[in-house]
C-alpha cells in the first residue's frame, strides 16, 4: 500500500471534526486530497490520524455574503469555477480556477484545501491575497477570521493551529480589472512565477516562500526568488517583470 499507516476518521459534522482535532495528536485534515494524497503516496507526510471532512454536508456551500463570496471547505474547485454567483461577484476567482491544475483534479480539489496547503507556487493563495480576502478558522476554542496578509507564513505553512479547521474562505468582490497570468513549463503545472491583479492590487506567486503583495510600478523590489532546475532566480525576476506588464496591460 502506498500511504503510510494512519487512523481514519470520517466525522459528519463540523463539531465532531473539531472535537477530533482538539483531542488527536498529529492529525491532518483530508479535504479534496489532491495534494495530501500524493504526499502520503510518496510518504513525504505520515500523520498519525486523517480527519476526512468530505462527509460534512454543512461545509459544502458557495454563498454571496458581505459584498463577496463565502466558499465552504467542502466546495469543489470545479463547482466554484462554474458558479454563477462567483462569476458575477468575484470573476478573478473563477478565472483563476481555470488555471488550477486540470479539470479532473478540480473535480475533487477544494478551494479551502488549496489555501490551507499554502503552496507558494499555487494560484489560489495569491488570489486570496490580491483580492484582500480572508479565511475562517474554527476550533473548539472558538472562531477567528484571518486576513490573507496574516495567513500565509512560509512554504506549506499557514497561521492555522493544529486544532483548527479552515471552514470557509471569503473573497471580496473584484469589480475592477482582474488578471491572472503565469508561466509554467506545461499547461496545468505549478507556475515558475505568476502574477494576480485585482484592480490596483498585485500579488505574486512562485517567487517567495509565500504569495506576496507587490508594487505594480516596481514589482521585483525586495524579491529574492529561489532557483531550481526549471528556473534561475534571475529568470524568475525577468518573468515577474513580463507577467506584471501583461497583467496591467489590459
Amino acid at each position: 500500500m502506498k500511504p503510510p499507516p494512519f487512523e481514519y476518521h470520517a466525522p459528519s459534522t463540523v463539531a465532531e471534526a473539531l472535537d477530533l482535532l482538539a483531542t488527536l495528536e498529529d492529525a491532518k485534515v483530508l479535504a479534496g486530497g489532491q495534494s495530501l494524497i500524493p504526499l502520503l503516496n510518496f510518504r513525504l507526510a505520515s500523520p498519525a490520524h486523517l480527519v476526512d471532512i468530505n462527509g460534512i454536508a454543512e461545509l459544502d456551500y458557495i454563498q454571496e455574503r458581505d459584498g463577496g463570496v463565502a466558499i465552504g471547505a467542502g466546495a469543489r474547485q470545479s463547482d466554484v469555477e462554474e458558479d454563477k454567483t462567483v462569476r458575477r461577484i468575484c470573476p478573478l476567482l473563477a478565472q483563476a480556477l481555470g488555471q488550477v491544475a486540470h479539470p479532473v483534479i478540480r473535480n475533487r480539489g477544494t478551494v479551502c484545501g488549496s489555501l490551507a496547503h499554502a503552496d507558494p507556487a499555487a494560484e489560489l493563495p495569491a488570489v486570496l491575497l490580491a483580492a484582500g480576502g480572508e479565511v475562517v478558522a474554527r476550533s473548539v476554542r472558538g472562531e477567528r477570521r484571518i486576513a490573507a496578509e496574516d495567513f500565509f507564513k512560509g512554504v506549506f505553512d499557514s497561521a492555522l493551529r493544529p486544532d483548527e479547521l479552515l471552514v470557509e474562505a471569503w473573497f471580496p468582490a473584484t469589480p475592477g480589472p482582474v488578471a491572472l497570468v503565469e508561466e509554467s513549463r506545461r499547461h496545468g503545472d505549478f507556475a515558475l512565477a505568476g502574477a494576480v491583479r485585482s484592480g490596483d492590487r498585485l500579488a505574486l506567486f512562485g517567487v517567495a516562500p509565500t504569495p506576496v503583495l507587490a508594487d505594480p510600478a516596481d514589482p521585483t523590489r525586495g524579491l529574492t526568488p529561489s532557483g531550481d532546475l526549471e528556473a534561475t532566480p534571475a529568470f524568475r525576476l525577468h518573468l515577474v517583470e513580463v507577467l506584471v506588464r501583461k497583467a496591467f496591460a489590459s
Binding site: 500511504p3 470520517a10 510518496f42 481555470g98 479539470p103 479532473v104 483534479i105 473535480n107
Partner: protein
Amino acid sequence: MIRVNGVERPGPTSVRLLLSDYVRHELGLTGTHVGCEHGVCGCCTVLLDGRPVRSCLMLAVQAGRHEVTTIEGLAGEGELHPIQRAFHECHALQCGFCTPGFVLAVAGLLAKHPHPSETEIDEGISGNLCRCTGYASIRRAVQRAAELTG
C-alpha cells in the same frame, strides 16, 4: 459497501488502500490503469457520481458515499460506448495504457460540453498523458465522440 458499476461490492480491507488499488486488486477490475500514482498521468481516472476523478488520489474508503464507474462499467457487456467507438475509429490509441483514463476524462468533458470547442477539448484532456500516439488522433476522437453522442 461501495457501489461500483452499479453493483454493491464489499468495502476495502484497509483504510490505506487507494481507490485505484481497490478496484484492481480487490475487485479485479484491471481496466483502471495505474501509471504515476501521484495524479500526473491520468491513467487511473474513474467516474465518481459521473464526474472524472483520479482514483490514485482518493482512498477507497472515501468512495462509500458515491457511485463509482470504471471503464468496465461504461458500456454493456460486449458493447462499445460511443466514446470507445470513436477512439477505435480514429485510431486514438496505440499501446492502450492511457486509453481507459482518456475515455473516462472525455466522458466527463462531453457531459459538461456536448459540443466542445478545440480549446475545451484540449483543456478536457490536458490532465492525461499519452506517450505513443501523440494527441492529434485523440482530439479527432473527441470530436467524433461528440458527433456520435450529440
